[in-house]
C-alpha cells in the first residue's frame, strides 16, 4: 500500500494586509492578508523549511527520492531538488527531479512520487512544492497571490492516506504564463480562464478519478482543490457533482493568498488535520489541464495526524515599500563575494548539511569543522556530527550598521540542543523578540547576492 506518510505546510511569517495594496494604488481589493516571502526567502528556501517540518526529526536517510515542484524556482538552470535534498541532509544516493511549468506541478510531482514507490523504483520519497510567484505591481494578481510551501512524504510504511486512483487532463490553454524574459506572472482574461482553463479541466480530472475509484461524488469527504482565485474552486466542485459547502476544504485566500503549486498539497494537509479513517480525500492541481488524485485515510491517521497549520503567528509587512523590498523590487546588497564552487564543495557538509564535529577525546560538539578540538586540543579526533536545528540565544545584538537590505538586523550566538554553538542572523523576529534565552530554530535562507549568483545559508528564527 503506497501513500502519504507525513505532510507539512510552511507559510512565511510576514503578511501584508491587502488594504495596503488597495490604498497604494487606489483600487478595490478583497479583504484579508497575503503571505509574503521575505527578501531572504524564495521557493528553494521555503521548500527546505517545509521539508524539515515534514521530516519533523525523522531520519532523512530513510528517503531515496526528493521531487521539487515550483513555477517560481530561483534558478532557470541549476537543480533545486538537489539543493533541498542536501540542506535537509538526504543521502547522496537520492533520486531528484524538479517539476515546473504550471502550478499543477505540485500534484503532478506527488503523483509521480507515489507511482515511483508503487513501481518499487524508490522506497520512500519526499515531494515538496513551493512558490513565491511575483505579480506586476498594480496588477490584479498582486493582492491575490501568496507565498508558501508544502511537503509530503510518500512511502509504504505508516501510510496515513493511501492512493486510490488518479486521472489527468492535458490540453493547451493560455491562462497563466511567464516567458523566459518575464519576471512577473502574466494572466489572460481571468474570468474566461477561471471557467474554461480551470473549473472545466479540474472537474473533468476529478470526475475521471472518481469514476476510476468507482466512487460517487457524494462519498468524497474533502476536496482539496488548488485554485486561481478564492471563488473558482467552488465552481469546479459543483461541476464535479460535489457540494462545495460540505465537501470543499476552505480556501487559504483570505489568510495567505493563492499559493500556486503548494496550494492543493497544503489544502490536503488541512483535510488530514480532521479526516477520519476511511474518508475519501481528493486533491487536484490545474494548469494546461489538471491532475486529480483520490486518497483514502487509513487507520494510522489518528496516531500520526499532521500538526494543525498555525496561521496566527504573523509579522505585519508595515508598508507597500517594505513589500516591494521583500519581493526583490528594490536593489539588494551585492557587496562582497559569493562562495566559490571549490569552497562550497569542500565545505558542503559544514555549510549546507550543517554538520559540525564532535571530539572523540572530550565529547565537545563544535562548529565549524576543524582538525583540532577547541576544548581539549586533541588532533584529528573530531568526527562528523550533525547539529541540531533548535537552540537558545546565548547572546545577541540588534545591528543597524551591517550592510544588509533590511534593518535592524538581529544577530545571535546560539547554543544548540545536542551541543555546538552557532552565530547567525535572526530572521522573522518581532521587535524585542530576540534576547538572551530566546528559543530559536534554524531556517535555510538566501543570505546574500553577488557576482550574479546567490549564497544560501542557515539563519535562526524565533521558535
Amino acid at each position: 500500500m503506497a501513500g502519504i506518510t507525513r505532510i507539512a505546510t510552511y507559510v512565511p511569517r510576514r503578511r501584508l494586509d491587502r488594504t495596503v495594496i488597495g490604498q497604494t494604488w487606489g483600487t478595490r481589493v478583497a479583504p484579508g492578508r497575503r503571505a509574503v516571502a521575505g527578501l531572504d526567502e524564495d521557493a528553494l528556501t521555503m521548500a527546505v523549511d517545509a521539508t524539515l517540518a515534514c521530516l519533523d526529526g525523522a531520519d532523512p536517510a530513510h528517503f531515496d527520492a526528493l521531487y521539487f515542484a515550483s513555477t517560481s524556482a530561483p534558478y532557470l538552470e541549476k537543480q533545486v531538488a538537489s539543493v533541498v535534498a542536501t540542506a535537509t541532509d538526504l543521502p547522496r544516493a537520492t533520486a531528484v527531479a524538479d517539476f515546473g511549468g504550471s502550478v499543477r506541478a505540485g500534484v503532478t510531482a506527488l503523483r509521480a512520487a507515489i507511482d515511483a514507490v508503487r513501481a518499487g523504483s524508490v522506497r520512500s520519497a519526499l515531494v515538496v512544492a513551493a512558490d513565491a510567484r511575483l505579480a506586476e505591481p498594480e496588477s490584479e494578481l498582486e493582492p491575490l497571490l501568496g507565498d508558501g510551501a508544502a511537503a509530503i512524504a510518500v512511502g509504504t510504511d505508516g501510510v496515513i492516506a493511501e492512493l486510490v486512483s488518479a486521472a489527468s487532463v492535458a490540453e493547451e490553454f493560455t491562462y497563466f504564463w511567464r516567458t523566459d524574459t518575464q519576471r512577473a506572472v502574466q494572466v489572460a482574461e481571468p474570468r474566461f480562464g477561471a471557467s474554461y482553463g480551470y473549473a472545466r479541466d479540474v472537474a473533468e480530472a476529478v470526475g475521471a478519478a472518481l469514476r476510476k475509484a468507482e466512487l460517487p461524488p457524494a462519498r468524497v469527504a474533502r476536496l482539496a482543490l488548488g485554485a486561481p482565485d478564492e471563488r473558482s474552486a467552488a465552481d469546479a466542485a459543483k461541476r464535479a457533482g460535489c457540494d462545495p459547502g460540505r465537501q470543499l476544504v476552505p480556501s487559504l485566500a483570505a489568510e495567505v493568498g493563492m499559493l500556486g503549486s503548494p496550494e492543493p498539497l497544503a489544502l490536503l494537509g488541512r483535510a488530514l488535520e480532521t479526516a477520519a479513517p476511511g474518508d475519501f480525500l481528493v486533491v487536484a492541481g490545474y494548469g494546461e489541464g489538471a491532475d486529480a488524485l483520490v486518497f483514502r485515510a487509513t487507520d494510522a491517521l489518528p496516531a500520526a495526524r499532521p500538526r494543525a497549520l498555525d496561521l496566527a503567528r504573523a509579522l505585519p509587512v508595515a508598508s507597500y515599500g517594505r513589500f516591494l523590498k521583500a519581493r526583490g523590487f528594490v536593489p539588494a546588497e551585492t557587496a562582497g563575494e559569493v562562495v566559490t564552487s571549490v569552497v562550497e564543495w569542500k565545505e558542503l557538509a559544514q555549510d549546507v548539511r550543517l554538520h559540525g564535529s564532535r571530539c572523540e577525546a572530550c565529547g565537545l560538539v563544535q562548529y565549524p569543522q576543524t582538525r583540532i578540538c577547541i576544548g581539549c586540543r586533541a588532533r584529528d579526533r573530531l568526527v562528523d556530527h550533525k547539529l541540531g536545528k533548535r537552540g537558545t540565544v546565548f547572546t545577541f545584538t540588534i545591528d543597524n550598521l551591517a550592510p544588509v537590505a533590511e534593518h535592524p538586523l538581529p544577530m545571535a550566538v546560539i547554543d544548540l540542543e545536542g551541543g555546538g554553538r552557532l552565530y547567525l542572523q535572526v530572521a522573522d523576529a518581532a521587535d524585542g523578540e530576540v534576547k538572551i534565552g530566546t528559543a530559536v530554530e534554524l531556517t535555510f535562507r538566501r543570505l546574500h547576492e553577488a557576482g550574479g549568483n546567490r549564497n544560501y545559508f542557515w539563519k535562526a528564527r524565533p521558535a
Binding site: A335, G336, E337, V338, V339, V343, D351, L364, V365, Q366, Y367, P368, I374, G375, F394, T395, F396, T397, I398, D399, N400, L401, A402, P403, V404, P408, L409, M411, V413, D415, G419, G420, R421, L422, Y423, Q425, I436, L447, H448, N455, F457
Partner: protein, 381 residues
C-alpha cells in the same frame, strides 16, 4: 627585555577626517614629528616596522607603503597586521629587533587612512557565509549584552565611559572628536548595535603616529629623559569566539594573557600602573579591559568608572588622551598613538590632561574581538 629598549622620540598627526592629507603624507608628518623629537634624521633609522590594517591605495599589502612615503630604502622594513592590535604589535616587534641586537635605532609607525575608502572604511573580509552580518560594533555588542545580563549593568554605566573620554579628548588638540558629551546625549543617540549607541562607538578616523626606539645604553645620547620599555605581551585566541562553546563572553582571555606576559617581564603588577591607555573601541570594551588588565576584579569595571577612579584625577586614570572614543581609531595607528600618549604623560608634557605621578604607564589594544591583544608597559628611568 625589561629596560633594554628606550623610546627616544614620538610623533603623532592630528587625528580626524584628514581628507586633505594622503596616506603617505600622514606617514611623513608622523615620522618627521618623531625624528625631530629624537633629534635624528632618517639616515640613522636602521630598520622600520609599519603597523597598518589597510595600506594606502596602490601601496599593496607590503612594507613599501612606509618605504615610499619616507624614501626609506635599502634597509629592513616589515609590515605588521594583527587586527586592532596592529599598532602595539608593530611596536612590540620593533622592540624585539632592538633587544635582539639586530638594529640599534628603529622606527615604528602606525598609519591608517580609513576615510579614503568610503562608508566605514573597512571592507568585509572573511568567510562569505559564516558570521555574515557581523560588524565591529555588533561583535563587541555580543559580549556587552552577555556581560550586562550577567553583571546587571545598564547603558547608563557605559555612557559614563563616553562622558569621561570625551572630556579628556576635548583637552587634547590632536584628538578627532574634541567635544564634551553628556550622559543624556550618549543615551539618546541613535542605536548602532544594541546596546551601543553612536556615542558608545569610536569614530572612523585618519591618522598616523610614530615612535623611535633604540638600545637603552645609548638612549641618553639622544634624549636626556628617555622612556624605557618595561614589558610587552601579545596573545592570540580564537578569531571565531562566537563558535567557541566554552567562551563565557564576559571578557577577553587574550588581554588577560598579554597582560600577564607584560607584567611578568616588567616585574610589576596591575596596582603598580599609574595610568593606562586601553582599547575603548566601544564603551563596554573599556570597562571589561580594566578588569582583564587586573585594575579591578571581573564584574567590578562598571564601578571603577562610576566612582571616577578612571578619571584624569582618579587613582588609575584610563585613557587620559581621550581614548579611541574621542581621539579616534585609525586602526594600525592607534597602538602607536597610545605609545605616543604614554611617553608624553611619562615625560610630564601632557598639559591640561597630564595625570599625576606618571611613573609607569600601560598601552593596550584588543582586536577580533578578543582574538588578539597586545600590552606594553612603559616607565621612566
Amino acid at each position: 627585555m625589561k629596560d633594554q629598549v628606550a623610546v627616544i622620540g614620538v610623533g603623532c598627526t592630528k587625528f580626524g577626517d584628514r581628507f586633505e592629507r594622503s596616506y603617505e603624507e600622514l606617514i611623513t608628518d608622523a615620522a618627521f614629528d618623531a625624528y625631530a623629537d629624537a633629534g635624528i634624521d632618517s639616515s640613522e633609522i636602521e630598520a622600520a616596522y609599519l603597523g597598518t590594517y589597510l595600506p594606502g591605495a596602490g601601496g599593496g599589502k607590503a612594507a613599501v607603503s612606509l618605504g615610499d612615503a619616507l624614501r626609506l630604502y635599502d634597509r629592513p622594513i616589515t609590515r605588521v597586521e594583527n587586527y586592532c592590535a596592529t599598532g602595539t604589535d608593530a611596536f612590540r616587534n620593533g622592540c624585539l629587533a632592538v633587544a635582539a641586537g639586530v638594529a640599534d635605532v628603529v622606527l615604528v609607525l602606525g598609519a591608517e587612512k580609513l576615510k579614503d575608502r568610503g562608508g566605514r572604511g573597512i571592507p568585509r573580509l572573511g568567510h562569505p557565509l559564516l558570521a555574515r552580518g557581523n560588524t565591529a560594533p555588533g561583535l563587541f555588542a555580543l559580549a556587552a549584552n552577555r556581560y550586562m545580563h550577567t553583571f546587571g549593568l545598564g547603558r547608563e554605566t557605559l555612557a559614563k565611559v563616553a562622558v569621561k573620554n570625551h572630556h579628556n579628548g576635548a583637552l587634547n588638540d590632536k584628538a578627532h572628536l574634541r567635544m564634551e558629551v553628556t550622559a543624556e546625549q550618549v543615551l539618546k543617540a541613535p542605536i548602532i548595535a544594541w546596546p551601543f549607541g553612536l556615542f558608545d562607538c569610536c569614530p572612523t578616523t585618519d591618522g598616523a603616529a610614530a615612535a623611535i626606539i633604540c638600545r637603552a645604553d645609548p638612549a641618553r645620547r639622544y634624549k636626556k629623559d628617555p622612556v624605557f620599555v618595561k614589558g610587552v605581551g601579545l596573545a592570540v585566541t580564537t578569531g571565531r569566539p562566537y563558535f567557541d562553546p566554552t567562551f563565557d563572553y564576559l571578557g577577553f582571555r587574550s588581554t588577560q594573557a598579554a597582560a600577564r606576559q607584560a607584567y611578568a617581564m616588567a616585574g610589576v603588577g596591575p596596582r603598580d600602573i599609574d595610568f593606562a591607555e586601553v582599547h575603548d573601541c566601544f564603551t563596554w570594551t573599556e570597562i571589561s579591559n580594566t578588569e582583564d588588565l587586573g585594575f579591578c576584579a571581573k564584574g567590578e569595571g562598571g564601578r571603577l568608572v562610576e566612582e571616577g577612579r578612571t578619571a584624569l584625577d582618579g587613582d588609575i586614570p584610563v585613557n587620559p588622551s581621550g581614548g579611541l572614543k574621542s581621539f579616534g581609531h585609525p586602526i594600525g595607528a592607534s597602538g602607536v598613538r597610545m605609545i605616543y600618549e604614554c611617553v608624553t604623560q611619562l615625560r610630564g608634557e601632557a598639559g591640561a590632561r597630564q595625570v599625576k605621578q606618571a611613573e609607569l604607564g600601560l598601552a593596550h589594544n584588543v582586536g577580533g574581538p578578543g582574538a588578539v591583544s597586545c600590552v606594553v608597559v612603559l616607565g621612566r628611568g
